[in-house]
Subunit: 387 residues, 2 copies
């Protein structure tokens, strides 16, 4: 085994400090989870019309400092609805990093629109706004206040910056570039609940944002997501679209558009509400773990723990080691050895432009994404790790 | 107030026998619901990879006598996946009754296909197979083993019979007609869990079926659905499509098609598993309630309780009064008075061809559906009503 591989493994083993299997990320249920879920069942209202759906929406709004939260069955559905609310239509293009989970692109595909991949910078792992600006200047034309791709002739309607592993993209810079090109911004904040950008909560930095409460996230609803916005009109539309577009009436069933069955059931909201009560504690523990990783790996030449960009405070959802350039070939050795020895690790997602269904999508030069994709190793990051 | 209206209201009031609000349908949690959900939370696996998702799938397969069950986030998503598995593509047409909940048509619209509405018969409230056969003979042509609509030029790929209020459609007759025209059959069994057709369980009478466990159904998962099939290959594909189409690998993220985040979380499955254990008791209670309604309304001239078609045994999910022809004008009077006096009642859904987004969809003559739509009143049907 390579010496660096061996150092990485021993450093990691020391910190996770466990004789048992250590997963990448699992939740902690130590608060009111059983109490609230039991109360929800006893109330008889376990579906999306139950009170816990409203309660969690109110608490989350307050936590984020956002006017409205609309809960959904998962993060993908939240993003799908955000795109619809933003006016994305079939045959539009939607910009997004190639370095993101596949759901970001799938939500665009559901509408019949096309993901258009952009590169990330290695300071944030998010959309590189400088490269974006140069690219848009070269490939787009503005007509009647809308941005069109000169190559494909298609409208570029929105951009979806994704906060990778919980680390914030540089939203001010991205918003500025997007604004210049009449492109809507939708935050994919699936991984970044609790992260701050210049003191503001992730999910509140654009017109619309999507959150996720999947089982692997910093807090979980079992499965769930949320649409976040300060615009009451958009929030009301989100409620309408996610509840089969039924018009309010005491007994009539009238639906005025193709709607979706996307609302989070109360039993899931009850679980998530209890989780939210402990979010600040999870954030502290995860930050402490990240610092321990950082300090330990500072002594290992050839690899670094990725730390929050200077303009932000990360939730450190999923810690990432990044091998120095030239050490790419060690990645699979580390993955193989750790996964065979009770420590779960993973590479980053396959870049989306390499997947069969998105291989013909438009894209800019993706040099930084391709380099990072070969060098990232996610390591165990649950709030309880090493404690 | 009309004398018949008054008789209907007093008959209904006598049976529901309550000083408090009586909803249309609510669940009963009297078994292992809290126990299983608590156990699920304690196991730490609340998302779709948890054991309870597998357990409920196994128990439901056994109950139905079906080879495979794949759980989903709701009935709409189950139907969406069934349509995809059946090979329905954009620009196809899919036959379905105009008298169904809007989700049946929405699932077709998600694929970019078009709902094509057919009439129901008043013996089953489901697809009229005789009328269907005559209609298809007139409007279709078969080319290379596929059925095409001569008017629109579009392929008719599938038919989705829906078992209205839990009453079975005449599946043998529908399957026979569909088979003759090379049209796939997908049961929309969202409302009919536990109903039998010639002794066989609803959901097992075609290649693929969709179930629902929404909060208003005979058993609930908070929110949830299921794909039912005897075909292992289709079931495996259903798992793949509903889990973001990720190819199995120890650590890689490779997705080979546009997938969905559609799997039921374990916490919802835990609730539904406990519910399933009491399904047979719910069925008995709901049948007893239906018989009491039937006998009471037998004494009221001008209205009847809809009873199960002779080839079937209904779960009596939602009881329906049907006003005799000529009494249509009383429907809204009954609805108004009951809903203002603690007894929840509802008309049937607006016929789907009357909704704005489906008004240009192809359709046959819908005389029976239109007549029924004016005369149906759903009445309180929870298993606990009147007890």
């Amino acid at each position: 085994m390579n010496i660096l591989t061996s150092e990485i493994i021993s450093t990691l083993t020391n910190i996770v400090n466990s004789q048992e299997f250590v997963p990448l990320h699992t939740p902690i249920f130590k608060g009111n989870e059983i109490k609230y879920v039991t109360d929800c069942i006893k109330s008889n209202f376990v579906s999306s019309v139950g009170e816990y759906t409203k309660k969690f929406e109110a608490q989350l709004s307050e936590y984020l400092g956002a006017k409205r939260v609309v809960l959904t069955v998962n993060g993908t559905s939240a993003l799908h609805v955000c795109l619809m609310l933003s006016g994305v239509e079939a045959n539009d293009e939607v910009l997004m990093p190639a370095l993101t989970f596949v759901a970001t692109a799938n939500a665009v595909a559901y509408i019949g629109a096309t993901p258009h991949f952009v590169d990330v910078d290695d300071a944030s792992l998010g959309v590189d706004s400088i490269k974006l600006s140069k690219y848009l200047s070269a490939i787009t034309v503005i007509k009647n206040g809308e941005c069109f791709n000169k190559d494909t002739g298609k409208r570029i309607k929105a951009i979806v910056p994704m906060h990778t592993f919980g680390h914030m993209s540089d939203m001010d810079a991205i918003n500025a570039v997007a604004g210049e090109y009449f492109i809507d911004v939708i935050e994919d904040a699936a991984e970044s609940l609790g992260s701050l950008y210049k003191g503001k909560q992730s999910g509140t930095l654009s017109k619309l944002a999507a959150l996720s409460f999947n089982g692997n996230k910093i807090i979980t609803a079992g499965g769930g997501g949320a649409i976040v916005t300060n615009d009451d009109n958009l929030a009301d539309k989100a409620v309408h679209i996610t509840t089969t577009a039924k018009k309010p009436h005491k007994w009539e069933y009238h639906h005025d558009m193709v709607g979706y069955n996307y609302r989070m059931p109360a039993i899931n909201a009850a679980l998530a509400l209890a989780q939210l009560e402990n979010l600040d504690e999870f954030l502290l523990k995860k930050r402490a773990l990240a610092i321990r990783y950082k300090e330990a790996f500072a002594k290992v030449a050839g690899v670094k723990l990725f730390m929050e960009p200077e303009f932000s405070q990360s939730n450190y959802w999923l810690n990432a080691l990044i091998l120095d350039e030239g050490n790419e070939q060690l990645r699979d050795e580390v993955l193989e050895h750790t996964n065979n020895n009770l420590i779960m690790t993973r590479p980053v997602w396959d870049l989306l432009d390499t997947l069969n269904m998105y291989k013909d999508s438009p894209k800019m030069d993706l040099t930084v994404s391709r380099s990072l994709a070969k060098r990232i190793i996610n390591i165990p990051s649950s709030a309880w790790v090493g404690s």
